[in-house]
Symmetry: C2
Subunit: 157 residues, 2 copies
């Protein structure tokens, strides 16, 4: 009764499920560390971006994290409530909301520095294997969501 013209529908054969399960395991593994910092996992990723570059707009943060305003707006409101960031309309363009770290938000970077090392030790992967896996996942994501590469480059109307 097997139909060899189709790949398997078995759960354990699916790359998508392995990815989904691994991603949730990773989030769960971060949770106790991030609890110490008072951050959720997406909030931590957001702080990583802001520690790199302060004063981004919601749109720029969204591009970096690949999240839209529907996700970011409430998340950023919570970071603001936690006094880690400020949200202010730009004078130059009142549509844009600029996100800036508060002193507390900037200070949180210090204890956060221990997080990547702590996780790395849990992974039992060499730095090289870690990099390779990371880059394979980036390529996979790029393959799945080519940045509208197929859209014609507006030759004419």
């Amino acid at each position: 009764m097997n139909d060899a013209t189709h790949p398997s529908l078995l759960l354990d054969q699916q790359l998508c499920f392995a990815l989904y399960a691994a991603s949730r395991s990773m989030t769960a593994a971060y949770r106790p560390l991030l609890d110490e910092l008072g951050l959720t996992y997406p909030q931590y990723l957001t702080m990583l971006v802001l520690w790199e570059q302060d004063g981004l707009t919601v749109r720029e943060l969204g591009q970096r994290l690949q999240l839209d305003s529907g996700t970011l707006t409430p998340l950023l409101k919570r970071l603001q409530q936690a006094a880690l960031i400020s949200r202010e309309r730009r004078r130059s363009d009142e549509r844009e909301v600029e996100i800036c770290l508060t002193p507390e938000g900037r200070a949180l970077r210090e204890p956060a520095k221990a997080v990547p090392a702590c996780m790395a030790s849990r992974l039992c992967l060499s730095h090289e294997d870690m990099q390779r896996l990371r880059d394979e996942l980036k390529q996979l994501a790029a393959q799945l969501s080519p940045p509208q590469a197929w859209l014609p480059p507006r030759t004419q109307t």
Copy 2:
């Protein structure tokens, strides 16, 4: 000002973010296909399990998908509303709820057979590379959530 005793806090260096982004890209890539079937991504995974083995309990489904009743109960209610499954207390143990496919649920397997092939063609990965990546992700997840292996085996109180 770099502190070489710590791994990087840069977003693009993080395996966790690559995993998180890839997982969401994968879900997004499945969405148009699953819309045709009237399923969400977690609902599709649930159906994969049931097409393999019908009549599982909520607990058994949860073990397979690594999801708890807080997630599964409402998801299964929606599958029941869509007339794809039935939910019934077991006579043998009234605590357990048995999930069975309806004829419609079983029939949905046919159009679903096209889904893995369609996704595979999007990935531009050889079957071997796909398997390797999948197995690396499984190992990563296993490493991150060892089934309480470190808990002492209850030697004494």
